[in-house]
């Protein structure tokens, strides 16, 4: 085989790993790569800021389950990526980031655009590499994809020195991994663990499935639904778990946690058995940990052994891939059903009734208005137009929580939210990545007015690539979530949260990018405008003015127990137990 440059080897290796598109931004040391891309079939989307390249790669990955790829130059390009990398790390999203590095001979000499990318991204990635030898390059790319997608998914960064990119070497396609002795995957559960888990589950009188991002990552939605059906067991999920069960399923409760539903939070507080699947007992879910699920014994299924016993001690811990574990657990439960199913059947039925009684008594709720568009009403209308089948990427803040409460998803991988890191600026680029990956689906980017302003340069990328994203700005004139906390916990001293001053005229802004856009203020106009946007085959920007002073409820005050949740502005505190 003829000699190739490192840059050619890199692109060939990426293509062989199945990369369909690179989201990137060029620079000095990555010029050799861009020279290869000039006439290579591998698609490249030129972003307007590298942070967004990482978010777009995530949008691609979150909606397809495949590895997303982003690329940046050395120094500022690489440092701009880091927020998107940490974001992917926190939410366990598989992406591979390629960065250029100054030539080896210059490393450590404060060369132009030199930054210690390898060091800086150590804590931002699942694993990272600095490639200084062209013969390693293809192997490293193969390894990077493997590490990104296997086990607990996450971001992997490959930093490549410029001399490697320009040097010549032989490309030997890699299909075998060299042994990764420190990277042991525990995907299949131990047989005894399944026995133990099955016995444990049957003992529950008030069982509850608490499922999250790990179920989506494992493509184990069907198995979770099956488990809940075998047991007749209610299911609550995290922000990361939308779409694993159809919201009209008789066992579906809602999201739980700080802004979760009343029934979900009551159920976890009162249950005696938690079946935790692909969840990490995050503090936004548990509230005050020592008062979280005080009556429950816990079965915790997770692919990452470090998650078991991290925040809440598990009575039974099963390490393994959620899909494989649940397949075996479901089989074991069916097998033992004839002996065990009757044991607590009565109690379980009564429990199911109780949970859904709570759900009927206190659904998500708000005070409707004829004069103003209530944010919750906006979510209901979006839900209507999306019909449970469209993709939605949200930004961070109040709109994110309202969407999580009101918009329904019938399938996994439709809903995307920067949940663990909560990075404002995520929604728009994540939706763009999703639009690139799913040309057949309607894609909505839902942003606050704050988060939209962080990401708005990417309207240029939308225009340049005619990405049919429906950009919906929920405009409450402020950094709403921060304003809410200042209202509730800082004596209404609204400090530095005004966004309306200087907010652009959206139809004009959109037009400046060559896009269609409109502003809506009147509830009576909302449906027409949404219809117009959804019927438009291309992109559309909607600026929707909503009630400025609305707060998200229910809400568990920081540091409170779930049972301390506040249900609404008038009703103060709910007694839990």
């Amino acid at each position: 085989m003829a000699l190739m440059t490192g840059a050619q080897i890199l692109i060939e290796a990426l293509a062989r790993e199945g990369a369909e598109v690179i989201f990137g931004y060029p620079g000095g040391v990555t010029l050799p790569i861009y020279d290869v891309l000039y006439d290579h079939p591998l698609r490249h989307i030129l972003v307007r800021h590298e942070e967004n390249a990482a978010f777009m790669a995530q949008g691609f990955a979150r909606t397809t389950g495949k590895v997303g790829v982003c690329m940046a130059t050395s120094g500022p390009g690489a440092t701009n990526l880091t927020t998107g990398l940490v974001d992917a790390l926190m939410d366990s999203i598989p992406i591979v980031a390629i960065t250029g590095q100054v030539p080896q001979a210059l490393i450590g000499r404060d060369a132009f655009q030199e930054a210690d990318t390898f060091g800086i991204t150590r804590a931002a990635t699942k694993h990272n590499y600095l490639v200084k030898d062209i013969d390693e390059l293809a192997q490293v790319i193969h390894e990077a994809f493997h590490i990104a997608i296997s086990g607990r998914p996450g971001p992997v960064l490959v930093d490549i020195t410029k001399d490697v990119l320009t040097g010549k070497g032989r490309f030997t396609p890699v299909s075998e991994l060299r042994p990764l002795r420190g990277y042991e995957l525990q995907l299949d559960p131990e047989a005894t663990a399944i026995e133990e888990a099955a016995a444990f589950v049957w003992e529950g009188e008030r069982p509850l499935i608490y499922a999250g991002g790990g179920v989506i990552a494992a493509d184990a939605s069907d198995e979770v639904v099956e488990l809940s059906e075998i047991l007749g067991c209610p299911l609550v999920h995290t922000v990361m778990g939308h779409g694993m069960m159809r919201p009209d399923h008789p066992n579906y409760v809602s999201m739980l946690g700080m802004h979760g539903g009343y029934a979900a939070n009551m159920a976890i507080t009162e249950c005696d058995t938690i079946i935790g699947v692909g969840v990490r007992f995050d503090d936004r879910v548990t509230g005050r940990l020592d008062r979280f699920a005080p009556h429950a014994r816990v079965l915790h299924i997770d692919v990452d052994p470090a998650e078991i016993n991290k925040n809440r001690r598990a009575d039974v811990g099963v390490v393994g891939d959620a899909k494989r574990v649940l397949k075996k657990l479901n089989a074991k439960l069916r097998e033992t059903a004839s002996e065990r199913a009757d044991e607590n059947a009565k109690a379980r039925t009564a429990w199911h009734k109780q949970v859904f009684g709570w759900k009927r008594e206190h659904p998500f709720d708000y005070e409707p208005s004829l004069d103003e568009i209530k944010p919750q009403y906006l979510m209901q209308r979006l839900d209507h137009f999306m019909g449970g089948e469209s993709i939605m990427a949200v930004d961070v803040g109040q709109h994110q929580m309202w969407a999580a409460q009101w918009v329904r998803f019938n399938k996994p991988r439709l809903w995307q939210s920067s949940s663990g890191l909560g990075s404002m600026g995520f929604g728009l680029p994540a939706a763009m990545g999703a639009a690139v990956a799913n040309p057949d689906k309607t894609v909505v980017a839902l942003c606050g007015d704050g988060g939209f302003m962080m990401a708005q340069p990417e309207l240029a990328t939308i225009a340049a690539n005619n990405l049919p994203v429906k950009v919906v700005i929920m405009n409450n004139g402020t950094l709403g979530m921060v304003r809410q906390w200042q209202e509730l916990f800082y004596k209404e001293r609204y400090s530095q949260v005004q966004m309306s001053d200087g907010f652009p005229d959206i139809p004009m802004l959109a037009a400046a990018f060559g896009l269609k856009g409109t502003t809506v203020r009147n509830p009576a106009d909302l449906d027409d405008k949404l219809r117009e946007a959804f019927e438009e085959p291309g992109p559309f920007v909607l600026n929707i003015h909503v009630t400025p002073k609305e707060c998200v409820y229910p809400m568990v005050p920081a540091g409170g127990a779930l049972s301390d949740m506040i249900l609404g502005p008038q009703k103060p505190v709910m007694a839990g137990d």
Binding site: K126, L130, R181, G182, N309
Partner: protein, 187 residues
Amino acid sequence: MKKQLISLLVENQPGALMRVAGVLTSRGYNIESLTVAKTLDPTLSSMTIVVDDVSDDNRELLIKQITRLVNVIKAVDLTDSKSVQRELALIKVSSVRPELRSALTKEAEIFRARIVDVAPTHYTLEVTGSPDKIEALIDLLHHYGDVEMIRSGSMAMARMPKNQLPTPMFRMDADEASIETAVDSQG
């Protein structure tokens, strides 16, 4: 809160040390000592780390989070398990008065320290042993002159459970206590 003694087997690769140290420092832990060297298999390194003040709750988590690193093959918490822990120290005692010289060499003998360098007014001692023993020797040497020293930090190795002891080296019927004495007397 107490010190945690961690023994690690890691791939001998650039960045491996940074990753392990990063897990500790990003959680605000202070590394009291850290030793790294190649193993019989030159592609692997062993590390021993002593970490200041880790609460009991966090010890298991720390081990798991270090094990999760792609380059880490094994991490073991030796804090409460039986292990042999040794450290090397080089100690220079200077301004030693002539009348104290013979007493100093006696002390060195008691501690099985070797005198590796001598000049008219100073001695350099090399000693290995448990960290306690080294502390004790240093305390003592302060009486003989000005002390300067450099310590390697602890190295630790888990003791093999009795039923795994290879026969050629130890008699299988040797009880725990006699092995302990045998091991200690080497220090």
